[in-house]
Symmetry: C3
Subunit: 345 residues, 3 copies
């Protein structure tokens, strides 16, 4: 399908500079653009791509300075990134959607399925599970007994949800996600191996949560592991038993959160971060990649880094000196020698 | 189901303080207790919850000091945590168990299944596989050719066991676990890409091992990767080819162990630890979170931390000074200046 | 099956020292050898095993010094490791291969399958998917719409490939691998939760790539995430959207690469490394375990380490001093005191 610059400008309420009749049929990053593709420029730092790109149309911010000649047709809007995202969304929503029921599937007689549920081949739905309207259950998904899933949630192939867990509406769970496996609870026994502590709680995922591929969210020992509304989790993340993650917190890949830790709302955790158990992380905390925390963060809106983590800017300063440690040691030895010479002299 | 304090006290051989007829129907953490729930207090540090909790019954240690008025009925035992765990276990064992055989499944004619095996829908059992009595194979599990599995082992949905691997009795493998994928063995070739070294060994999991969701245990190049009796592995752990993990060792989430490393018995590895290949870790070693080891640990019962790891207390001391490095540098510059002034003066 | 030393020597073009008629029927590491097993010794460091091993045959380098009496029959070749690997390969290729089509499977009418494809039970092949000759699709694999897979590629049980992704020839994808899940793209919205940026690109895996168990390779926002020819990825690795990994680069377990980063050719990344987004890593870069990079590497063939990473040898020097920081601080305090005494005196 082809779209003219005029049509696109009308949709995103933008102003055209250039040929309004030029057409595009695909999206591309501005630096990878080709004739017939639509791009955007939001960060003024990349202005040069505006003059180099082969894309036919570029959406730009009204505030963007143009200091050179541009081949592409420009569409000027208040927020180029958001306008472009809305076009991606439009395109995405036009993709054919899976509906109906593939065969074979294994659905318990007592399970309740809402309207317009897609049920992919080789999926299992356990006793008394309750699935909302418009839910997409892709192939090879497992939904245990007594699981509840809200409306319009998407479970990609191979997602596993253990018995009794609860998933809200408008969630997206990517392939290989495991919800509700046993928390890691073992008690030492004198003269014997560890005793398993049964994990009889569940995991509760609220609405509008997205969970990346192969991420694991353990069930609680008692009560619930809770992922609050709007949380976004990347791939290969570990969330231990009885953890709670506050609203709209965003966590990057391979981060691990140990049992009973409470992460506040609107936090941002970078990749490969590790949090010890039983901590409390204040709202709005930002934690740099690979940081390790063994104590709570009480001050909201802090930005921290390192293992153990402290203020990000201080960590940067210490890191710079870490590289210079051999020089520093040499300097100290010199001072020592000088001082001894003077003392001896 | 409801249980009286009297009935519970009889079961765990405890003494009642308070109303013996009060009933509970659920478990809760003491700080999350509600009327009708049963809690425990093991750590004297949390004594205050005893006076605040809304739980109807609390199991406490006989040694617990009580300095204030308590609403709940108390049951006093020698070890509150263990008594509570035994009740959790009792409850857990009362949950309905899966039995029989769902359809469809794919079972090779030459496979041998023991008595009372549960076989979930869409599972595969390969040629000559041998499955013990009472094994629970949940849906969508894959068991390759010549795999042997001991009695009463539980394989949760989506577990994959490659051909020729061996799993003991009373093991638990959580969803998404992969046993016996190829070890990462490639040899450089001059003027060409890497040559794959075939991985013809297997992986052997002994009895009473628990393996967390999406954890991977590679097969050996030759011989066996071995996980000894009683080992507990958390989620998303990587165990390389020809690794051996000693009895009752416990390893937290996202830790990685490189090829041919031998971890001793009764070790505790925290989360996100990395061990290089071909190391030997002495029995009883404790390794702090995110530590990285590139050399062996020869002293049993050491506690180490950091990358590269050294004594935990020493690491703590160095970490504190790491934060002060900018101050230290300033101090050295001052000393230098002062000394030069004196020398010049 | 048994093979004589003579037969093996003929195959690998080696010279026999010892009994040419001795037979072996299995492979073993030299230190784990038993009568009837074949071993190799490539690293002169382990020479002692030559005199201790119970293996019946050992393949050695012609250059290997022999300073003691050896029980095993030796076969001397130019490159013992490669000769041994070729025997492993011969053995491996003699294992029975899966062929044909198990039932049930779910194959879209519009999907095209090449010759001699193995299709395991409970696998799904989506609309317009195109599968090359000799491809092995093990059980419980998911292949989405419009996916293309080259000849002879092996997909182990439970691999999930999202719609529109492309996989080359002679690739190996281990159990639980997820190709083409959505990249982690969310835009903050004032006064609301994050807005998902649709991920409409794909992931492209070129020829001769191996991908370890439970590794995740996200699809691009636009365009393609690209894994170039000959790349080898270990288990539990995260590859973000729009990443590109150059030819023959090798990456160890649990490493994570953030969105839009370009890793060069012939790089080696150790385990648990983290790369921030939008970086460029020069060809031939070697990155030590657990390193974290927040800036690009412009110098080819560098070896770096640490968080943030710098030259490996410099990092080693700084790490040694890190352990001595408490001593260093004490020294500085002493110097300060001495200097003040002198000044006061």
């Amino acid at each position: 399908m082809e779209f003219t610059a005029q049509l696109i400008a009308d949709f995103i309420k933008g102003e055209i500079a250039g040929d309004a009749n030029v057409t595009v049929s695909s999206f591309a990053k501005i630096e990878e653009g080709r004739p017939g593709s639509l791009s955007f420029l939001a960060n003024p730092k990349y202005e040069k791509y505006l003059y180099e790109t082969a894309s036919s149309i570029v959406i730009v911010n009204k505030a963007q300075k143009i200091t050179n000649s541009v081949n592409a047709t420009l569409i000027k809007v208040d927020d180029a990134y958001m306008a472009f995202a809305s076009l991606l969304e439009l395109y995405h929503s036009s993709l054919p959607e899976k509906t109906g029921r593939e065969e074979p599937v294994s659905v318990a007689a007592s399970a309740q399925l809402g309207k317009d549920v897609f049920l992919g081949a080789f999926s299992c739905i356990g006793e008394n599970a309750c699935i909302g309207d418009g839910v997409k259950i892709h192939p090879q998904v497992y939904i245990g007994e007594n699981v509840r899933i809200g409306d319009r949630t998407v479970l990609y192939p191979g997602v596993k949800v253990y018995r009794g867990c609860v998933i809200g509406s408008d969630c997206v769970l990517h392939a290989g996600v495991v919800i509700g496996a046993d928390g890691f609870g073992f008690a030492p026994q004198t003269g014997a191996d560890f005793k398993k502590i049964p994990q009889i709680g569940n995991a509760v995922i609220e609405d509008r949560v997205e969970i990346g591929a192969n991420t694991c969210i353990d069930r609680a020992t008692m009560g619930s592991t809770i992922i609050r509304r709007g949380v976004k989790l990347d791939n290969l993340i570990q969330v231990g038993h009885n953890v709670e993650i506050g609203e709209n917190t965003v966590i990057a890949s391979q981060t691990g959160i140990s049992g009973s830790t409470k992460v506040g709302a609107n936090c941002m955790l970078a990749g490969q971060v590790g949090l010890a158990g039983h901590l409390t992380i204040a709202d709005g905390t930002k934690i740099g990649a690979q940081s390790g925390l063994n104590s709570s963060v009480t001050e909201p809106e802090s930005t921290i880094m390192g293992t153990p983590a402290f203020g990000y800017k201080d960590w940067l300063r210490s890191s710079i000196i870490f590289k210079q440690l051999p020089n520093m040691k040499r300097k100290i030895d010199e001072l020592d020698k000088k001082l001894n010479e003077k003392t001896d002299g």
